[in-house]
C-alpha cells in the first residue's frame, strides 16, 4: 500500500537528515532541529482539526503542555523510558481533546475557537496551582548526560521527535486519502449539507479533536527532558498557539504538505532569528507573516505553487481537492 511506502520513504529521509546533522558535528543542530520537528508535529496536528475540518483551535499550547506535564507527573512517580511517556502524553491529551470536543463541538466554529482559549487558561490555572508538578515554581527533570548508542542525549530526543514528525505526517496523509478526509472536507465546507448527506459530523469532529490533541500531547511529552526545567509559562507559551496556526496557514491547509513546509520554513527562520536578532522581533515576524499570508495568499505556499502550475502552458490538470477560493458565485452565506 502506498501509505506504507510513504512512511518508509519519510523514515529514510529522516535518517538522512540525522546523518547529515551528525556529520556537521555540532550538537546545536540537534537542539534547533528538535524544535523544528516539534513544530512539524504541532502544525500537522493543528491542521487536522483546523485545515481539514475548519475548526480553529487557539489552545494548542494546552495540549502541548498536558503532554509535558504528564511526563513530569509520571516521572515523579516512577521513571519510564521516553517512548512510553510519549504514549502517555498522547493518551492524556487525546482524552482531554475528546472531552473538550464533546463540550463545545455542537457550537458554531467561532464559539469553539473561543472555548479552546478558555480551556487553555483553565488548564494553565489548574497546573499553576498543582504543587505536585511544581506549580508556578516549576519542575526539574534531569536530563541524562548520554545514552548509548546515540551519544549525547539530545540526539536521542531528536530521533524521537523525528519519528513523531514522520508519524504525524503519515497519519495526516492517510486521513486525507480516506473516507474520513472527505468527511472532514464537508464539515469545513458546509456542515448542514454534510449532515443532510449522511455525514455524522459530531462523531467526525470528535475524532479530529482527539487525534489533533493526542498528537500535540505526544509532541509535548519529551519537552521537559529537552528543556530541563519546566515552568507553566514556558509550557503554555503563546508561541505554540501562534506558530501552530501560522505554520499551516502559511504553508497551506489542504494537505499534509502545507504544515510541513510552514513548520520547516518558519521554524528554521525563527531559530536563525533568535540567534541573530531578539526572540521578540522574531515573534513579530511570525505575526506579520501570518496576517500577510492570510490576507494576500489565503491558500498558503502550496496554493501559490498550485496556481503557478495550473497556469503553465502544458496545462496540467489541477488536483481534485482545492481550497474554496475567492468569488464563489454559488457560495451560500
Amino acid at each position: 500500500m502506498r501509505s506504507d511506502l510513504f512512511f518508509l520513504v519519510c523514515l529514510a529521509v529522516g535518517a538522512a537528515i540525522f546523518a547529515a546533522a551528525l556529520a556537521l558535528g555540532n550538537d546545536y543542530y540537534f537542539f534547533a532541529g528538535y524544535v523544528v520537528l516539534q513544530y512539524v508535529v504541532l502544525a500537522t496536528a493543528w491542521n487536522i482539526l483546523g485545515g481539514y475540518c475548519g475548526y480553529v483551535n487557539f489552545g494548542s499550547a494546552a495540549f502541548f503542555a498536558l503532554g509535558a506535564y504528564s511526563t513530569v507527573a509520571t516521572h515523579k512517580l516512577f521513571p519510564v523510558p521516553i517512548p512510553v511517556l510519549v504514549i502517555i502524553g498522547g493518551a492524556v491529551s487525546g482524552v482531554v481533546g475528546f472531552g473538550m470536543g464533546y463540550l463545545t463541538l455542537r457550537l458554531r466554529g467561532a464559539f469553539f475557537a473561543i472555548a479552546t482559549l478558555a480551556l487553555a487558561v483553565v488548564l494553565q490555572t489548574l497546573i499553576v496551582n498543582w504543587d505536585f508538578v511544581g506549580g508556578s515554581r516549576g519542575a526539574y527533570v534531569v536530563r541524562p548526560e548520554a545514552i548509548a548508542p546515540f551519544g549525547s542525549y539530545i540526539k536521542y530526543l531528536f530521533l524521537i521527535m523525528m519519528l513523531l514528525a514522520v508519524g504525524a505526517i503519515t497519519v495526516a496523509r492517510v486521513i486525507e486519502r480516506s473516507r474520513l478526509g472527505y468527511g472532514f472536507a464537508t464539515i469545513r465546507d458546509d456542515e448542514l449539507a454534510a449532515e443532510a448527506s449522511g455525514v455524522p459530523t459530531l462523531r467526525l469532529k470528535l475524532i479530529a479533536t482527539t487525534i489533533s490533541g493526542g498528537l500535540m500531547g505526544m509532541a509535548g511529552a519529551p519537552f521537559p527532558y529537552y528543556i530541563g526545567f519546566l515552568q507553566p509559562s514556558s509550557a503554555f507559551s503563546l508561541d505554540y498557539a501562534v506558530n501552530s496556526i501560522a505554520m499551516p496557514l502559511i504553508g497551506g491547509t489542504t494537505s499534509w504538505v502545507g504544515p510541513l513546509i510552514g513548520a520547516v520554513l518558519l521554524g528554521s527562520l525563527q531559530q536563525i532569528a533568535t540567534v541573530t536578532i531578539s526572540s521578540a522581533v522574531n515573534l513579530l515576524i511570525v505575526g506579520f507573516l501570518l496576517v500577510g499570508f492570510v490576507i494576500v495568499a489565503p491558500n498558503g505556499i502550496t496554493g501559490l505553487v498550485k496556481k503557478y502550475i495550473q497556469h503553465r502552458p502544458l496545462g496540467q490538470v489541477g488536483p481534485r481537492r482545492v481550497d474554496a477560493d475567492a468569488d464563489a458565485p454559488g457560495r451560500v452565506p
Binding site: G50, R106, V242
Partner: protein
C-alpha cells in the same frame, strides 16, 4: 480561609465596581461580536494599546488618562474602520471569515502585544492622577477611588453607547444590519458602511477602556490575554449584543472573581471567567442553526 463579614461585603462591592469596568471592556465586543458577528479576539490588545497611550501622555505631560483617551478616540475609530475594511475585503466578502478571519485577528493580537513589548519592555506601567491613591471608607467598606472613578465613567460610557444604539439612526441601522442586510439596502443604506462605523465605534470604546484599565491596575503587554476569555464570556452570558445584559453579566463575573480571589487566592481568579465561559457554552442550547 478566614471568613469575615467585612471581607465578604468588600469582596462583593469591589466585584460590582470592577464589573462595571468589565462591562466597558466588553462593550466593544458586544458590538463587534454580539451584533456584527465578527470574532475580534484582538479587542483586548487595542485596550492595552489605549492603556499605553494614556501612560505615555500621562508620564510625559501629566494629563489625565481619561481625558487623553477621549481625545484619542477618533484615531481609534479610524483604526477600527480601517481594520474592518481590510477584514471585509479579505474575508467577509469571500466567505472565509471563520478560519482566516479568526487567524487574522489572532495575528493582530499578537503583533500588537509583541510590538508593545519591543517598545516598552515587560515592566509594569502605571499612571498618576489625583483619584489614584485615596480610598473612601464607608462603614465596613473600603472603596479605592481608582476603582470607583473608572466604574462610574464606564457606566456613563455604556449609557452613551446604549443611547446611540437605540435613539440614533446610525445606531438603529447597526442593530438592523445584524438582522437584515438586504432590507437595509432597500432603504438605500450601505450595510458595509454601517458595519464599518460600528466596528470603528467598537475599537473607539477600547481607547476609553484602556484608560480605565491602567487607572485600576498597572499594565504590561500580556495583560490583555486574561481579558480575551473574560470579554467573550461576558458577551455570551449577557445575551450577545445587549448592553444592559452585558452590564449584569459583567458584574456577575466581577463578583465571582472577587469572591474567589478573596477566599481562595488570586491565582485561581483567571479560571473563574474562563470557567464561566466554558459552562455557558456547554449549557447553551445553540445548535447549528440557532444563535
Amino acid at each position: 480561609m478566614i471568613f469575615s463579614f467585612d471581607l465578604l461585603i468588600n469582596a462583593i462591592v469591589s466585584g460590582i465596581l470592577i464589573g462595571a469596568f468589565y462591562a466597558a471592556v466588553t462593550a466593544g465586543v458586544s458590538i463587534s461580536f454580539g451584533i456584527l458577528d465578527i470574532v475580534n479576539i484582538a479587542h483586548p490588545a487595542f485596550i492595552i494599546l489605549g492603556s499605553y497611550i494614556a501612560y505615555i501622555v500621562n508620564a510625559s505631560f501629566g494629563f489625565d488618562p481619561i481625558i487623553t483617551s477621549i481625545v484619542v478616540t477618533p484615531a481609534f475609530y479610524a483604526l477600527g474602520a480601517g481594520i474592518y475594511q481590510v477584514y471585509y475585503v479579505s474575508f467577509e466578502k469571500r466567505g472565509q471569515e471563520s478560519l482566516r478571519g479568526l487567524a487574522f485577528f489572532f495575528g493582530l493580537l499578537f503583533i500588537t502585544e509583541v510590538t508593545l513589548v519591543l517598545y516598552f519592555g515587560v515592566d509594569y506601567r502605571y499612571v498618576e492622577a489625583p483619584y489614584i491613591g485615596p480610598t473612601w471608607h464607608v462603614g465596613p467598606l473600603d472603596i479605592p477611588l481608582r476603582i470607583l472613578m473608572p466604574c462610574l465613567v464606564s457606566l456613563l460610557l455604556i449609557a452613551a453607547l446604549q443611547l446611540v444604539l437605540t435613539r440614533t439612526f446610525i445606531g438603529r441601522a447597526i442593530m438592523a444590519v445584524a438582522q437584515d442586510q438586504f432590507a437595509l439596502k432597500l432603504l438605500a443604506v450601505d450595510p458595509i458602511r454601517i458595519k464599518r462605523i460600528a466596528f470603528g465605534i467598537s475599537i473607539a470604546s477600547a481607547s476609553l477602556a484602556g484608560a480605565f484599565l491602567i487607572i485600576i491596575q498597572p499594565v504590561e503587554p500580556s495583560v490583555g490575554r486574561e481579558y480575551i476569555g473574560r470579554v467573550f464570556a461576558i458577551c455570551v452570558l449577557g445575551g450577545m449584543g445587549s448592553l444592559p445584559g452585558t452590564v449584569i453579566a459583567a458584574m456577575l463575573v466581577g463578583v465571582f472573581e472577587s469572591l474567589t480571589s478573596t477566599f481562595y487566592g488570586p491565582s485561581w481568579a483567571p479560571a473563574v471567567s474562563f470557567g464561566f465561559l466554558l459552562l455557558t457554552l456547554a449549557v447553551r442550547p445553540a445548535g447549528l442553526l440557532g444563535r
